[in-house]
């Protein structure tokens, strides 16, 4: 595939995936999000919703109404013009309690990389991460930008239960968890931030294209922050740009 090319992957009669590449890559993600923005600005007849992911945009539509051929022509023309430079997104500061009962894999993961737990925390909270997608379950925030020197293959035995708000790494990806779930990722910490809370305004904090910075926070603040989050406070802080 040359830059500008897209593939249209059929997904039954009511969806199509527009694929820009096969990698976790900021330029690919930027083009996905640019098409996402264009689709939602134009809202062609029959469009139901779009789902941006790392490298593709799934477009769901009502097959009774949607003009698929016109859509393919339009996107094919538009694709080479989509900007591969990530647009500056909102930046969130997310408090994280690392280690101990909050990050049960911190020590083992540090040891695996020949680091002290503090060194691993420093490496984990140094980057400005980029939100590539929210997926799998409500509010699960998939991040790019992990320091490759701490990339860690997923666990061979996924845990059947991990709590809400886990801060974990798997391969070269980093994650802010949403609800409790099974997980094969390595849990370095936990955040009181609810990326999703039905009934709160807004119900979702993070969106694809946002940036995230992790702020190590003392375990003694957990109860206070967790209460605030439960009461509907974002707890994550939006950084003025």
């Amino acid at each position: 595939m040359t830059p500008g090319d897209v593939r249209f992957l059929p997904c039954g009669d009511a969806a199509v995936t527009v694929e820009f590449g096969n990698a976790i890559d900021p330029a690919i993600s930027a083009r996905v999000l640019a098409l996402d923005a264009a689709m939602n600005a134009e809202r062609p007849a029959g469009l139901v919703e779009t789902v941006p992911t790392y490298r593709s945009l799934m477009v769901q539509f009502d097959p009774l109404v949607f003009d698929y051929d016109a859509f393919v022509r339009g996107v094919t023309q538009l694709a080479p013009t989509l900007d591969p430079n990530p647009r500056p997104g909102r930046r969130w500061k997310v408090p994280v309690i690392y280690g101990g009962e909050f990050g049960i894999d911190l020590e083992a993961t540090a040891e695996r990389h020949g680091l002290t737990p503090t060194q691993l925390i420093d490496k984990h909270c140094a980057p400005v991460y980029r939100v590539y997608m929210i997926g799998f379950m409500p509010g699960f925030t998939y991040l790019g930008g992990l320091d490759p020197s701490i990339a860690t293959p997923r666990r061979l035995d996924p845990r059947p239960h991990t709590p809400a708000g886990i801060i974990s790494i798997g391969g070269i990806q980093a994650l802010i968890g949403g609800q409790a779930m099974p997980s094969g990722w390595h849990i370095l910490g936990q955040t009181p931030v609810r990326t999703f809370m039905a009934g709160r305004e807004p119900a979702f904090l993070t969106a694809a294209g946002d940036e995230v910075v992790f702020v190590p926070t003392d375990a003694s603040r957990w109860a206070e922050l967790d209460r605030a989050a439960e009461a509907g406070e974002p707890v994550a802080e939006l950084v003025a740009r």
């Binding site: 997904c11 009669d13 995936t17 799934m58 379950m137 998939y142």
Partner: protein
């Protein structure tokens, strides 16, 4: 205000409408009725729009008591009895229950999901635009969970008006292979895997629920590309094949994204029939090209409109042969009892 008080319900009884759309970008799956065609029919029988929220029963039935007014209900989907104070209501006919009367839905004799629609609809606040419960994530429904004894559902309508309504004649059961469009990741499979999918027989395993149905049958072999993809969006009906080669069809309560390749996608018109198939059911698949799938969707929609238009006031024996003929072209509308 008229209420429906739940006296007894199976563990997977929940409120479902046509689904929750616009939130998959935040990880919220669509949920919604597993059998949209039957949800639409139950609603049409009580005069509601096709996507209104109804009570979805899964295999087990339940009992409800009307309090504070009267309620008109209709049942469609899996083959279940509907009784009001012990008196059976004829198939595909609405019926009204007065204050204090008990509505009883029997357990499914065949099929899986039955829909009890209530005239005027339910006065339950939507979550993110829909009343549907997504079971695994607790989004929607009544307080984020399934229904249980003691729950009270407020109704939008205090008393039904006008005559009961009924569908004249029977619904023709749909049969034949489940139709799929190949892709989105057919390049992650060998040519023989794609041939196997359409030539061999599969069986619905015991692992079948609102999230999806796991199949057993011949293994589908991945190509040299392997069985991990960079996670992308999952359409409803996607046939995902993890490392063990056994297909899993993802349905209403699916996750929004996933990292296993998807060999094909079941077309919308065949999802109701698939959802109504019990563990042990044998399945065959047939591929259709995308334009053909769209033609099938349009034909199914047309048949559904004609079906709904044929609903008459109950007790009026005035069917002529043209109306009966019109009922025979129900491609896409499903007799869940099949």
């Amino acid at each position: 205000m008229t209420l429906l008080a739940i006296l007894a319900a199976g563990p997977a009884t929940s409120l479902q409408d046509s689904g929750r759309f616009g939130w998959q970008r935040f990880g919220v799956g669509p949920a919604g009725a597993m059998d949209r065609a039957s949800l639409g029919l139950a609603n049409a029988l009580v005069g509601n729009g096709p996507g209104a929220a109804a009570i979805e029963f899964a295999l087990a039935g339940g009992r409800l008591k009307v309090e504070g007014g009267a309620a008109r209900v209709a049942l469609a989907g899996a083959d279940c009895t509907l009784k009001i104070d012990g008196t059976a209501v004829p198939l595909f006919t609405s019926a009204s229950a007065r204050d204090g009367q008990t509505i009883e839905v029997g357990s499914a004799r065949s099929g899986v999901f039955a829909y009890l629609a209530v005239a005027g609809g339910l006065a339950v606040p939507p979550t993110l635009g829909s009343i549907s419960l997504h079971h695994r994530t607790g989004v929607g429904g009544l307080g984020g969970r399934s229904l249980r004894a003691g729950d009270r559902l407020p109704l939008l309508l205090a008393e039904p008006s006008g005559p009961e309504r009924a569908l004249p004649g029977a619904i023709q059961a749909q049969s034949g292979p489940i139709r799929v469009v190949i892709g989105p990741q057919e390049d992650y499979f060998t040519a023989s895997a794609i041939a196997t999918l359409v030539e061999q027989e599969y069986r619905i395993s015991d692992q079948a629920d609102r999230m999806g149905v796991r199949l057993t049958g011949p293994k589908l072999e991945h190509s040299a590309k392997g069985y991990n993809i960079v996670s992308d969006g999952i359409p409803t009906g996607a046939i995902q094949v993890p490392g063990n080669g056994m297909p899993l069809i993802l349905l209403a309560d699916r996750q929004t994204t996933g990292g296993y390749p998807k060999i094909a996608t079941v077309i919308g018109a065949d999802l109701p029939r698939l959802a109504q198939s019990r563990p042990g059911t044998k399945l065959r698949f047939k591929t259709v090209e995308r334009p053909e799938a769209v033609r099938i969707a349009k034909a199914a929609d047309q048949a559904e409109r004609e079906l709904f238009a044929s609903i008459r006031s109950a007790g009026l024996a005035s069917l002529d042969s043209s109306e009966l003929l019109a009922l025979n072209l129900v491609d896409g509308v499903v007799d869940a009892r099949g």
